[in-house]
Point group: C2
Chain length 129, copies 2
């Protein structure tokens, strides 16, 4: 099966996170997108989301590297897509990466551009809280 265009998009977004290119990163989000910063704390809109990524980078001492593993895309009604993706976080001082199973909602604009509407890198583990 050909690689879904959303995989390339998410890989590019994660390269922007690793490079701390937060202005570039915001291009991947819809204006009123929601990011789950951590369980119980959401950021909504690009201003809040950008601030959250700056704080996350500082939390990981500016040494966060993000990689992707397996991925499934399920396109649905109204130009939406649910993306399930293994995300590997390499952080300073840890030999093994943190592995998460992220869940994203994307929506394709009328211009045919996919934008992230919901970014929940915690996946269904949010239900553990």
């Amino acid at each position: 099966m050909a690689e879904h265009e959303l995989r390339q998009l998410i890989e590019a977004a994660d390269r922007a996170i690793t490079a701390e290119d937060f202005d570039g990163l915001m291009e991947f989000y819809a204006d009123d997108a929601t990011l789950v910063v951590k369980p119980g704390l959401n950021a909504t809109g690009k201003t809040q989301i950008r601030k959250a990524f700056v704080a996350i980078a500082a939390h990981f001492k500016n040494a966060l590297k993000v990689r992707q593993g397996r991925m499934q895309v399920i396109e649905g009604a109204d130009n939406t897509a649910l993306v399930l993706m293994e995300t590997l976080l390499d952080v300073e001082g840890q030999a093994e990466p943190i592995v998460r199973r992220a869940t994203y909602v994307f929506r394709k604009s009328e211009a045919g551009r996919w934008l992230c509407a919901v970014d929940n890198s915690y996946g269904t583990s949010l239900l553990d809280g």
Copy 2:
């Protein structure tokens, strides 16, 4: 926190599954919604989704009961919502329910009505395949 309206909607849909009211069940889906029937097999559009539910009911010998556990709703851009939900399936001949962590994408119509755009009851376990 008040119960999200999507919880009531999903509970009503699951009551329709238990009652095998498939016409009623279809009211919860957007016209071009996608249902993950099983890993690797998707149904798209109400005609295919209805057929899949008839087959699922037969597979469980018309004795499937669906209940909900914990739930998280993350509303995002463009009137979308990501729903994470524990789903308990009571099936004939099994003392313990099958527990899944479902992931749904809903979208609110211009009339203010939530419709299911992606129904993936397998959640991130689809990545195991």
